[in-house]
């Protein structure tokens, strides 16, 4: 059986993080969702279906056909919803079964026979046809509904991943004067990772995994469960439980129960908690987010311009790719910052809905620096890490720039009216 991951219509509920990537490429635990699926199921992902504008970049990053049903009639397929957070309950032996979570298709295990019979170029139609041919069962797998579901589950996911991957112990360089609290078996230091003196790795409440090339500088305390990705640096401070730091990040200050995608920096002091941070983000010194309201009421988050009650009391920020915050930025509880936006501090907490490609200045949303200027800046930032911004990346960002224009311009006009009245 071959594995295929797909996005359903709820992928937009993960904005702004899913603006720049398919929902199955969001990170949870130690990896992107589709890589976890593959590991837990023991199947290689060989096909993916995503929104059309993501095809070129996804094909490149995943190295498999995306949005193509060509040749699928030759095999049995497990079609897995890309929002799946734990596909362990799925049997790869049974076919012609559809696992449901309420009205959502969690997976379809389809035999070659029904694949061949129902295959068509329109993936949604293909899925609907298969669904009619399958026995429906209640799926054990949990589907994330929003970004905050991933954050909430991250500690558990790191522990699951640690146990599943099975690497243990100190394989890299751990300096004298650095300490492990708890069992050494609950810490993995990869062969090329380096831990300096005056570092505490506290694995008493969960495992800690330091991947290849990680460097942990003095005066850093890491609490498990935590995962620090390839070539990332921890530059002093507290990495509290439930943190997943993607590859090539530089993180300091205080971070708690947060997920960072790759190449993002939060080098200096300041608190980030219960947050989800995209790729190529730079959080300026003292950038801090609130993740708990003073009245302990549940946090509302803006999704596509409308407030949604998370039913959670602890929710931080969702920060899109290429966002930059200036020094001293204060992000309100449940703030959403769109792709490529620049946030400048005002001394007040930010508004909760900051759209893509704009500038927050004096706590008011203004037109940004312009698409071409932002691309130039991204190109410079990426070249500092030896990565090239390619035409497919620019085309993707331009698509997002165009499709988010209406919301952005509406909020710019609203804040202009506010200014005129004051």
């Amino acid at each position: 059986m071959k594995l295929c991951v797909f996005e359903d219509e709820k992928c937009e509920d993960f904005y702004p993080i899913s603006l720049t990537r398919p929902v199955f490429a969001l990170r949870l635990g130690m990896e992107e969702l589709y890589k976890r699926d593959s590991r837990f199921l023991g199947l290689r992902v060989e096909r993916a279906f995503a929104r059309d504008y993501l095809v070129a970049t996804s094909r490149k990053s995943m190295g498999i056909p995306v949005n193509s049903t060509e040749g699928m009639e030759k095999d049995d397929w497990l079609l897995l919803n890309g929002r799946s957070m734990n596909p362990v309950g799925i049997s790869v032996e049974e076919t012609d079964v559809a696992g449901m979570r309420g009205q959502d298709v969690a997976f379809i295990a389809a035999s070659r026979r029904i694949v061949r019979k129902n295959l068509c170029a329109d993936f949604k139609l293909f899925l609907d046809r298969l669904l009619k041919e399958c026995d429906r069962v209640e799926a054990d797998t949990h589907l994330a509904g929003h970004v905050w579901d991933l954050v909430l589950r991250n500690s558990q996911a790191i522990t699951e991943d640690y146990d599943s991957i099975g690497r243990r112990g100190i394989r890299g360089d751990m300096a004298d004067g650095s300490y492990i609290v708890g069992e050494e078996e609950r810490v993995y230091i990869a062969p090329t990772a380096k831990v300096d003196p005056l570092v505490v790795l506290d694995a008493a409440n969960g495992p800690i995994y330091l991947d290849e090339g990680v460097r942990v500088y003095p005066h850093t305390r890491v609490e498990g469960p935590s995962y620090i990705g390839r070539d990332s640096q921890l530059v002093g401070g507290k990495i509290r439980e439930g943190c997943s730091i993607g590859p090539v990040c530089r993180v300091g200050g205080e971070v708690e129960e947060s997920i960072f995608h790759g190449y993002s920096n939060k080098y200096h002091d300041g608190f980030i908690g219960h947050s989800y941070v995209g790729e190529w983000v730079n959080l300026g010194a003292l950038t801090t987010n609130s993740d708990l309201k003073n009245d302990y009421s549940t946090v509302q988050v803006f999704l596509r311009g409308r407030p949604v009650d998370t039913n959670l009391t602890k929710v931080g920020s969702a920060i899109g790719d290429h966002v930059k915050t200036a020094i001293g930025t204060l992000l309100n509880t449940g703030t959403v910052v769109g792709v490529m936006t620049i946030v400048m501090p005002s001394g007040e907490v930010s508004p909760k809905n900051i759209p893509s490609f704009c500038l927050l200045h004096r706590n008011q949303i203004r037109g940004g620096l312009g698409f071409d200027n932002l691309i130039d800046t991204a190109r410079k930032a990426m070249s500092r890490r030896g990565v090239e911004l390619e035409p497919d990346d620019i085309a993707l960002l331009k698509h997002i720039y165009d499709t988010t224009a209406e919301e952005r311009e509406s909020l710019i006009r609203r804040d202009r009216r506010k200014r005129a009245r004051s």
Partner: protein, 81 residues
């Protein structure tokens, strides 16, 4: 006050430059040492003074005081239409 006089006051207030130094051919970067943060402040103050919208990429193209004042005049005129 004319648009020109109001704009000179905005530039003087935001950049802390004496009014007599704000000539039409004065260059923001070379003569006043303007950086990107100053441009953002200048745009914000101009937008508030005239209740107009100025895209930052436009502002960056207006490298002199004269060009900026002409640009603002056009935006103010367009708004009145």
């Amino acid at each position: 006050m004319s648009v020109e006089e109001r704009m000179i006051k905005v530039i003087s207030d935001v950049l802390g430059v004496e009014r007599e130094k704000i000539t039409m051919d004065a260059k923001f970067v070379e003569d006043f040492g303007v950086e990107s943060i100053d441009t953002i402040e200048l745009v914000a103050a101009s937008e508030e003074e005239f209740d107009i919208e100025i895209p930052l990429e436009d502002a960056e193209k207006n490298t002199t005081v004269g060009k900026t004042i002409e640009y603002v005049k056009r935006r103010v005129k367009a708004k009145k239409r």
